[in-house]
């Protein structure tokens, strides 16, 4: 018991000294478990996140928009891979991780359980959803677990174009016909609050946050990042000459930040429980892709085995 305590103390001392923890280093079981849960949820989110956008590839209005959307979705597949690889360094297999997603045991970001109803949603998702994700991910680049932090550096580098293309798409619509403007405003209205919820519960209701902050997995609290996001978007929307669906949104001179309205957490919890508009559809799509790809995986392994024999 006493050696256990000293191991944990030494571990915390390394974290406090800003040293990175690497896969074969000693770590508390709870640190390992927390990371596996967080990194795998993050990976699943990238993979499921391809679906709402994949919905619009065939209907993109121009070739330029189509290649941008395809490139973004390909990036997300890659980001899923970086993250699964980081999770695997903690001693869980890819197959276990994927089974947890397909069985519904593992969670992914609730935002992807909302439907993408119009082309303007591709802009709102890029600008707001990726904008919120980037804000979280930039903070994670300094996470104490080396493989996760390194994956985040790659992801952030690649993702910066996602937000720009989303904003550009909305900017184009904002200069278009009244119908196009209305479509853009409608997409912003629908994606604003779900994007705000991406930062997680308020700090006062976030039970694991304190430990994650101590372990430096998390560097900033949910509410700190959410405020940063509001301050950024509230300024950017002026360029679009549109509005955010929050009557309480206003600049607070004293705080030096924007004030904003209360979040409806009932909706968040419902979507989390599986009662969002697309929960079932998303998992069904992932299962179908996995099952229909089984013969390809088997054939590739058979081919590799056969080639090995003939050498």
């Amino acid at each position: 018991m006493s050696t256990q305590v000293s191991l944990e103390e030494r571990f915390q001392a390394r974290i406090d000294a800003e040293q990175k923890i690497e896969p074969k280093d000693w770590m508390p079981e709870a640190y390992r478990k927390t990371l596996i849960r967080q990194i795998s949820q993050h990976a699943h989110s990238e993979v499921v996140g391809m679906l709402p956008e994949g919905n619009w590839i065939t209907r993109a209005p121009s070739l330029r928009r189509k290649v941008a959307l395809l490139a973004k979705i390909q990036d997300e597949a890659g980001h899923g891979l970086y993250l699964y690889s980081a999770a695997e360094t903690l001693g869980i297999s890819r197959e276990e991780l994927y089974n947890e997603l397909l069985s519904g045991k593992a969670k992914y970001s609730s935002i992807f359980n909302y439907p993408t109803l119009t082309w303007a949603d591709m802009g709102a998702v890029g600008w707001l959803v990726d904008g919120a994700a980037i804000m979280n991910q930039v903070a994670l680049c300094k996470c104490s677990y080396g493989p996760y932090a390194r994956a985040m550096v790659r992801v952030c580098k690649e993702e910066s174009f996602h937000q720009r293309q989303g904003f550009e798409l909305l900017l184009t619509l904002s200069k278009g016909t009244p119908e196009q403007r209305a479509m853009a405003q409608d997409a912003i209205n629908r994606w604003w609050w779900p994007s705000m919820m991406m930062f997680g519960p308020n700090d006062s209701d976030s039970p694991h946050s304190a430990q994650s902050m101590r372990w430096k997995i998390k560097r900033y609290s949910n509410d700190t990042l959410r405020q940063k996001f509001v301050d950024m978007i509230a300024e950017q929307i002026k360029v679009l000459n549109m509005t955010l669906p929050d009557p309480d949104l206003r600049w607070n001179e004293e705080r030096g930040h924007y004030d904003f309205g209360a979040i409806d957490w009932t909706e968040f919890n419902e979507v989390l429980k599986g009662n969002g508009p697309c929960n079932r559809e998303r998992l069904a799509a992932r299962r179908k892709a996995w099952e229909e790809g089984a013969w390809v995986r088997e054939a590739a392994m058979a081919h590799a085995a056969k080639r090995q024999q003939s050498v």
Partner: protein
């Protein structure tokens, strides 16, 4: 979905420009070396990040033990005479 059917893991190393060394960038699963190379190209060089790729089966790598870091690297610790700053030379001396 039995475990034995899982693709093996490969470590990916990329030379970013001619003249530089290959550097570890990450890992991926693939059935064989050719598939590992092609996947590495598709995932890790989507923006011209490389001119050459190595893939190595992860099982082929032998790593030093982090628990032994101190004793393992100890032999170099006290050999400050291996650095040029150890040697005193007159201030005006040029090209050294």
């Amino acid at each position: 979905m039995a475990n034995h059917s899982e693709f093996p893991l490969w470590e990916v190393f990329i030379r970013s420009h001619g003249g530089l060394n290959h550097k570890h960038v990450g890992s991926l699963h693939a059935a064989d070396a050719q598939m590992a190379l092609e996947h590495a190209r598709d995932v890790y060089t989507r923006r011209m990040e490389g001119v050459s790729i190595w893939v190595v089966p992860s099982t082929a790598i032998t790593a030093s033990d982090p628990a032994d870091t101190d004793p393992f690297f100890e032999p170099a610790r006290d050999k400050i005479y291996r650095h040029p700053t150890f040697y005193d030379i007159p201030e005006g001396l040029k090209h050294m």
